[in-house]
């Protein structure tokens, strides 16, 4: 084939551009810019997906570490109460102190509690939303759990837990993607909310007109479930998270009232 080439073409590579070459070259600069921008786009898109397994592994590691530390904390707390109990038995004057300590830990939610109360079970709808239905009403949201716990405490509940996560003064309930975080632990439907307290009052509070039960009407209509059981003995576990104060400091008794009016005026 190469031997058949009769002569060099009329276009000399080193000659100055001919009149037709200027507009064509301009158009081809534009195409070059386009293709290179597109290439950059594709590579950055690939990079972000490549990072995912790395991040997932990181999350798994951190979760394992968190679980390990949580177990350690529980073991340490158990040992602490053992020591306290021993001290109280020995009758060395620590008895009163140990009693106060137990009372404080109970107040803080660091003790598992049992007693009569109410169990509320909330489940997402098992049905898929149809074309003219809003998916929002098919699942339990963080706000629903917030309303429920609020209502439970307002009706006199003394200890509340969501899927074995005890609600204490520093608990948070928030939404992270498809799951709900309670005390920074990921929970998913069904949510079993247990409340130790006066069952009748609590159930009445939940079923109050325009109250919690009514607010879940859309969910129930969409196939979700809200079940209230009363009259059973309930156990709410102890709070297992961290409870240290890093920035907050106690205010001396006598300056309390003055401090309140002086802040951020």
């Amino acid at each position: 084939m190469l031997g058949l080439i009769p002569e060099r073409s009329t276009v000399d590579k080193s000659s100055p551009p001919q009149s037709w070459q200027v507009p064509v070259a301009m158009a081809s600069i534009l195409m070059g810019i386009l293709v290179s921008l597109q290439f950059r786009n594709q590579t950055t898109a690939n990079k972000s997906t490549n990072k995912q397994p790395e991040l997932i592994a990181m999350i798994k590691n951190l979760e394992e570490e968190r679980d390990r530390i949580t177990q350690e904390l529980q073991a340490t707390r158990a040992r602490l109460s053992e020591i306290e109990a021993k001290l109280a038995q020995e009758g060395t004057g620590y008895g009163e102190l140990a009693k106060q300590m137990a009372e404080a830990r109970m107040q803080a939610g660091l003790m598992a509690m049992k007693g009569p109360g109410v169990t509320v079970t909330l489940s997402d709808s098992k049905r898929r939303p149809g074309p003219d239905e809003d998916a929002y009403f098919f699942i339990i949201h963080d706000a629903d759990l917030q309303t429920l716990t609020n209502e439970l405490f307002a009706a006199g509940a003394e200890a509340v837990s969501i899927n074995d996560q005890r609600i204490i003064t520093r608990s948070s309930i928030r939404c992270v993607g498809p799951s709900v975080l309670v005390n920074t632990v990921q929970l998913a439907s069904p949510f079993v909310v247990k409340a130790i307290g006066p069952s009748k009052e609590i159930e009445g509070g939940l079923r109050m007109p325009n109250g919690f039960f009514d607010s879940m009407a859309m969910l129930i209509r969409s196939g979700g479930e809200v079940k209230i059981t009363t009259g059973e003995e309930i156990v709410t576990p102890a709070f297992t998270g961290s409870m240290s104060f890093r920035l907050a400091q106690p205010v001396p008794e006598n300056t309390k009232t003055g401090a309140v009016s002086a802040t951020h005026s």
Binding site: V11, Q21, M26, S28, I29, G32, S36, Q38
Partner: protein, 119 residues
């Protein structure tokens, strides 16, 4: 041909150092307009080599190709039909066709027939 290729390389270089990136949902439009533009560039090159280049024909062809390809992609998106594939197939075929003819023009062997695709 040399100048056209040098210009494309220059464009790639400029694009690599552009301070902004294109939104990812524009990817379909960019690839279609790239094919449309490349078709015009190769068509213009071929016309230039064959000494029948006309600026008005080139500019109008370049713009209408781009606009039509973009419009087709957009309408396809609206209707849920991948209509940009039609542009991809058409321009792809014409790019190969033009490239084959340019190659023959440069070598000096005239095409056997205007629509010859193979060498």
């Amino acid at each position: 041909m040399f100048w056209v290729m040098a210009a494309m390389a220059l464009g790639v270089w400029i694009g690599a150092y552009m301070p902004f990136a294109l939104p990812p949902n524009m990817a379909k439009y960019i690839s279609v307009s790239f094919l449309a533009g490349l078709d015009s560039v190769l068509g213009g090159t071929r016309a230039g080599i064959e000494n029948r280049f006309n600026l008005s024909v080139f500019v109008s062809g370049f713009t209408t190709n781009l606009v039509l390809a973009g419009l087709m992609t957009y309408v396809g998106d609206l209707l849920g039909v991948e209509m940009y594939l039609a542009a991809v197939v058409t321009f792809g075929r014409r790019i190969f066709e033009n490239l084959a003819i340019i190659r023959r023009d440069l070598i000096g062997v005239p095409p056997r027939s205007p629509s010859t695709l193979q060498g």
